[in-house]
């Protein structure tokens, strides 16, 4: 204490001391920064930036302003009451003439087709039929080519989608649409797929997480209390699936679970069943394969937390008069909640993004959000919608994480 008093009294010394301490801390900090720099650069360049760029596509509306600059400029004057005036028709005609023979016409057509089915045909047909020069009356010319140009719906859509940014993809990803009057409405029930898709994805992920917890908790508890030799063996058995690729494991499940597969044959041989069970291309198959793949992610965090639970606490509870079930309920379970939270978060987050396994062992009605993101990225080439679906997935996971964090505490969600 006397040292502190002297330092405070002189006034000059503490400032010098503080400078010295700060300098030491700065050096320490820059050294850590230098050590982390490669990974930071790597993650930023190949992870953060691409994801951010791709997510931007969910609101990006590059095609229409780019390929229809004149129309976009003119259509702003029109108030979407009746048919647009002649200058708007003329601008559209000029834009489309400029696209004659260009592959971009198809790109534009595809983009407009997302909003109104049939728009692609209208655009390609018009581009093909338009004369090289803009005729005296653009309205008549376009109406001659296709009478649909006299339908205000197409013009209203054009006006709505003329901005640099669009909420079209985000709304579509939630089964919503913006009507020609600008009001947001639910899409027709026959076309609504995404909300039920989110529902199914969450249902499957929660189900898989719960099953993993129910199966994994006792295993982890046995591992944590076993002797070192037995624990090592068990740990290795748990880790074996990690050493095989996900694709190989899933394909193995296909072999095992099919109607003529090993599981059915054994069950029939043993007389447990008389007819083969359908274990594949349905929800059961998805659950079986996903639980198998994700089980280690549940067991390992649980195990590491359970290792830290002192057996003395259990003895203490027992000596204080608690029967085994009460000991479990009042001491062991509360002390292992961090492991439960960490394992469930990990399994859930991984399950939500699952793609290969449901695609291979699930039926058409078991596909999860990941399948559709891949579909819109690779097959339909609708990157805007793929990105919007991905964005919502991130939001949903973040929301669940936040709620979990609030309930059980963020420090407990860490995976050790």
């Amino acid at each position: 204490m006397s040292t502190t008093t002297t330092l405070a009294d002189t006034g000059q010394v503490p400032r010098r001391l503080r400078t010295l301490v700060r300098r030491a801390e700065r050096q320490h900090f820059s050294r850590m920064l230098a050590l982390m720099a490669p990974s930071v650069v790597f993650v930023a360049l190949f992870f953060v930036v691409p994801i951010a760029l791709f997510l931007f596509r969910s609101v990006d509306n590059a095609e229409i302003p780019k390929y229809m600059p004149r129309t976009v400029a003119e259509i702003g004057q029109w108030h979407a009451d009746d048919l647009p005036p002649e200058p708007v028709f003329r601008a559209l005609a000029e834009d489309l003439i400029a696209l004659k023979g260009q592959p971009e016409a198809a790109v534009l057509g595809r983009r407009l087709n997302y909003a109104v089915p049939g728009f692609r045909g209208l655009v390609t047909r018009t581009v093909r039929r338009l004369p090289a020069a803009v005729p005296h009356s653009a309205i008549d010319t376009l109406a001659d080519i296709d009478a649909r140009w006299l339908d205000p719906t197409y013009w209203a859509t054009l006006k709505q989608q003329s901005g640099r940014m669009t909420d079209f993809y985000l709304l579509s990803a939630m089964d919503l649409q913006r009507g020609t009057d600008g009001a947001i409405t639910r899409v027709d029930e026959t076309q609504a797929i995404f909300l039920s898709l989110y529902g199914r994805t969450l249902y499957t992920s929660v189900g898989v997480t719960v099953i993993c917890l129910l199966i994994g908790y006792p295993v982890a508890a046995v591992m944590a209390t076993a002797g070192p030799a037995a624990a090592n063996w068990l740990l290795m058995l748990v880790l074996v699936p990690f050493w095989t690729s996900l694709l190989v494991r899933t394909t193995a499940w296909v072999v095992l679970l099919q109607t003529e597969g090993l599981v059915n044959k054994v069950l029939i041989y043993l007389g447990v069943i008389s007819e083969p069970l359908s274990l594949m291309f349905n929800t059961a198959g998805v659950f079986i394969a996903m639980v198998h793949v994700l089980l280690p992610y549940m067991i390992l965090p649980l195990y590491s937390v359970m290792k830290g639970v002192s057996p003395v606490h259990l003895r203490a509870a027992s000596s204080l008069g608690a029967p085994p079930i009460t000991v479990f309920r009042t001491v062991y379970l509360p002390l292992t909640i961090p492991g439960i939270a960490a394992g469930c978060t990990l399994v859930f987050v991984l399950a939500v993004g699952f793609y290969v396994t449901p695609a291979l062992v699930g039926g058409p009605g078991d596909q999860m959000i990941g399948y559709f993101i891949a579909y819109f990225t690779n097959s339909a080439v609708n990157w805007g919608l793929a990105s919007a679906l991905g964005a919502f997935l991130i939001v949903v996971i973040a929301a669940i994480y936040l709620v979990l964090g609030k309930v059980v505490g963020f420090d407990k969600l860490k995976v050790r």
Binding site: V312, R315, A317, S319, G321, P323, P324, T330
Partner: protein, 372 residues
């Protein structure tokens, strides 16, 4: 307290609270951790199981608590065989070395735990928790978490938790081992006070002989899986039954030699270099037997004219200054070394290495045990 006053060093008493009968314990099926334990614990006494690590004292306590099952033999509490009874049905309070407070509960919830699992009414729980916490002077800490308390406070809370359901028997497994010296002494005093106030039977495990001597009504000295001696502290110190007890309890000089003659009242022991020591035999000896002598440092008089049986003038090998005493290390010509404690009274003679001093001790203070 009268019951305790009549406790002798005998293994068996009438109406014991705990009786170990022929208890043996082996973990690997080859070596016995506890070999043939027969022990009666008297109602209301403070019994200490004292011994080095691996002597079987903790295993014995754990078997009494029900955490370990005896390989052979029976344990009964209050006349009822509890050998197969699980811990939670024994109704014993246990205090552990590292407190074992539940980290996810407050101190109040911890102390209320034994009442809660017994299904007591909430109002009753609250009242008794307050009482128990006040008893250990932690009244203001009910809402804290264990991690927010110091080691001493945590141990007091653990004590309150083990006492709150008013068990007849409380087991303490080296409860003060993790505390520093000053706190340990304070807690010893507090434990003694609680023992006298509550009149519970306490069984205390420790390897610290000072702790055992200051707190216990009786001490059972464990070594090698068995009780070497069970006696009141003063008996244990004054009349150890074997060389191990003599050495483990209190400071002791150990000298080895060969019996040259004497009777059952006194033997002459050659400790080497032609030096003959007159000692009190524990057991019977014949000339030529090897023996281990036990001599307490404080029983050796320095620089006095005594009419004591043993009287030598020896050169000082080393002087260790301990503040309250000087510790002189002396060596017989034959090589046997022993220590003497000389109170530092100020103004007394100054001892230096190489000085010759006259040391003397009574024959009755020097015990001769058979060498193992």
């Amino acid at each position: 307290m009268n019951a305790i006053a009549s406790i002798s060093g005998k293994d068996r008493t009438d109406d014991p609270i705990v009786r170990f009968s022929g208890v043996r314990k082996s973990y690997d099926g080859e070596t016995l951790v506890v070999r043939d334990l027969n022990l009666d614990i008297v109602r209301g006494e403070f019994l200490t199981l004292l011994g080095p690590s691996g002597s079987g004292k903790t295993t014995s306590l754990m078997m009494l608590a029900g955490f370990e099952a005896p390989t052979e033999g029976t344990i009964s509490i209050g006349g009822k065989d509890v050998t197969a009874l699980p811990p939670y049905r024994r109704g014993i309070g246990v205090v552990f070395q590292n407190y074992a407070l539940f980290p996810h509960m407050t101190i109040g919830q911890n102390v209320g735990y034994p009442l809660r699992v017994r299904g007591a009414a909430q109002a009753d729980i609250d009242k008794r928790v307050v009482e128990a916490l006040e008893m250990v002077e932690l009244g203001a800490f009910a809402d804290r978490r264990p991690a927010q308390l110091s080691g001493g406070q945590q141990q007091r809370a653990a004590l309150a938790r083990a006492l709150v359901f008013r068990p007849e028997l409380v087991l303490l497994d080296e409860p003060l081992g993790a505390l520093d010296k000053q706190l340990r002494e304070q807690m010893q005093y507090e434990l003694k006070r609680l023992h006298e106030e509550l009149k519970v039977t306490m069984v205390y495990v420790t390897h610290d002989q000072t702790e055992a001597l200051t707190m216990s009504d009786r001490i059972a000295v464990f070594n090698d899986g068995g009780i070497q001696q069970l006696a009141r502290p003063s008996d244990l110190y004054e009349n150890p039954q074997n060389a191990f007890v003599a050495e483990f309890v209190g400071e002791n000089n150990r000298l080895t030699g060969i019996v040259t003659g004497g009777s059952e009242n006194g033997v002459y022991v050659d400790v080497g270099g032609g030096v003959s020591v007159h000692a009190r035999p524990v057991g019977s000896f014949a000339p030529g037997d090897r023996t281990v002598l036990s001599l307490r440092p404080e029983r050796i008089a320095v620089g006095k004219d005594g009419q004591w049986e043993n009287d030598f003038t020896i050169e000082i090998d080393k002087v260790v200054y301990l503040g309250d005493v000087n510790r002189l290390l002396l060596r017989f010509a034959g090589g046997s070394e022993f220590a003497v404690r000389v109170a530092n009274q100020g103004g007394g003679p100054v001892f230096q290495r190489g000085d010759s001093v006259r040391v003397a001790w009574r024959q009755s203070d020097c015990l001769a045990f058979p060498a193992e």
